[in-house]
């Protein structure tokens, strides 16, 4: 009986991926010192009030999006928008493994997650917004001065990450999973480019900004943030990774 009930529940859950209303947490803005600085900006930012999804978008939620917008299916997505790894972990072009349904979706390109958030009348968070909320531990809004906390974040993006378990506690803003087993896209990831970047060495110059140039770091001890920036800055908008997911944000109306 128990087994059949469980099975029924699983079937019900996977066969009707209704667009669940994602919960957005209100994030009160404030002045914030970012770990990264750009020329012409020393890292002092003012993050405006905004709202951020309480949890990363799951496979199930992304499945609902793909069903409503079939041109984002794995077998239909234009090459412009995604590389060959896009949703490759799903058992079929339109469906994730049932056991993975509630886990954060990964193997999604920037174009796909940009489209997902737009379809929810939302947008991707900017790096500064993401960093601002991710500075919090379960008690403090900014725990970055705490070496013990910083050290725990070395495992970000791995199975040993602070928030890798599905039931990990919310941070001080009520947001879950920012330091999970997967990394997360940000809307302005392409601006995180260092000025010495020479990807595609024959044509590296085209990646340089006119006038002022790239980014540097205010706090080289913030290794976890450095690692995250390095990862995001190495991505192309059509790239996908097995441990890169996303969540959406909304500006305050």
């Amino acid at each position: 009986m128990l087994t059949s009930t469980t099975l029924w529940f699983v079937l019900l859950a996977t066969s009707s991926p209704a667009t669940s209303q994602a919960t957005y947490m209100e994030i009160p803005g404030a002045a914030f010192r970012s770990t990264i600085r750009h020329e012409g900006n020393d890292g002092n930012r003012v993050v405006a009030d905004f709202a951020l999804m309480q949890r990363a978008v799951s496979n199930r939620e992304f499945q609902a999006f793909v069903q409503q917008h079939p041109h984002w299916r794995r077998d239909r997505v234009p090459a412009l928008f995604a590389d060959s790894g896009y949703l490759l972990h799903w058992r079929a072009a339109g469906a994730p493994e049932p056991l993975d349904a509630d886990r954060p979706v990964t193997r999604v390109s920037w174009f796909a997650v940009d489209a997902y958030c737009k379809a929810q009348q939302a947008r991707l968070p900017d790096w500064a917004e993401w960093e601002y909320v991710a500075a919090a531990d379960t008690q403090r809004h900014d725990a970055r001065h705490d070496p013990a906390w910083r050290k725990r974040l070395f495992a970000d993006g791995t199975a040993r990450a602070v928030d890798a378990a599905g039931d990990s506690p919310a941070n001080a803003y009520g947001v879950h999973g920012l330091h999970g087993a997967s990394w997360e896209w940000v809307g302005d990831f392409s601006t995180l480019l260092g000025d010495s970047d020479k990807r595609g060495a024959d044509d590296g110059d085209r990646l340089q900004f006119c006038g002022a140039t790239g980014l540097s770091f205010n706090n080289r001890d913030d290794y976890a943030a450095l690692k995250r920036v390095a990862l995001l800055s190495a991505m192309q908008p059509r790239s996908t990774l097995g441990n890169l997911g996303f969540r959406c944000a909304r500006s305050r109306p």
């Binding site: 900006n41 412009l80 392409s190 601006t191 990646l207 900004f209 006038g211």
Partner: protein
Amino acid sequence: MRPALGGRVLSVVAGLLSSMSSLATANELPGDSVYQAAAALTDQNGRSLAWQDLRGRPVVVSMFYSNCHLMCPLIIGSGKALQSQLSASDRDALDLAVLSIDPARDTPAALRAVAEAHHLDPRWRLLRPLDADVRTLAAVLDIRYRAQPDGTFNHTSTLILLDRDGRILARSGVTDLQPDPEFVAEVKKYLAASP
């Protein structure tokens, strides 16, 4: 007789079908076309158009913002210099499109003022995307930009040649008023190959 006729009808039908399907293939947008992205635009004359409406003609495209005094005149200047190096018929065959990264300030009126100040001919379109589409268009074209606290932008200054279906054929960084000779050669080559 009948089977032969049937065969002929069949082959005509098959021919029709195959020509229809090749038509459909011709109309189908290539998977790597930048027009796979959907975006709504307004030109310097206040007309609305879709990003996909640029399809059908070769276009040199770039992104800029009009309240920019260093690089943006260079982008427009090198586009004009490119035009001046083309034959009259090639000049007519090539569109130029500049997308704003600053839609809040680049109203159609502001863009029209730029077009008039630079005496741009009707081949030029200065286009204002919706705010939410700027990043998507920049990502599609691999143009990077960043808003600065003082209201200016850093951005890569690039001319990009798109074929009729929106595939990127060539790109070139803008460093002065003269376009890169290799880029000019690519433009000429494409226009010569596609009458």
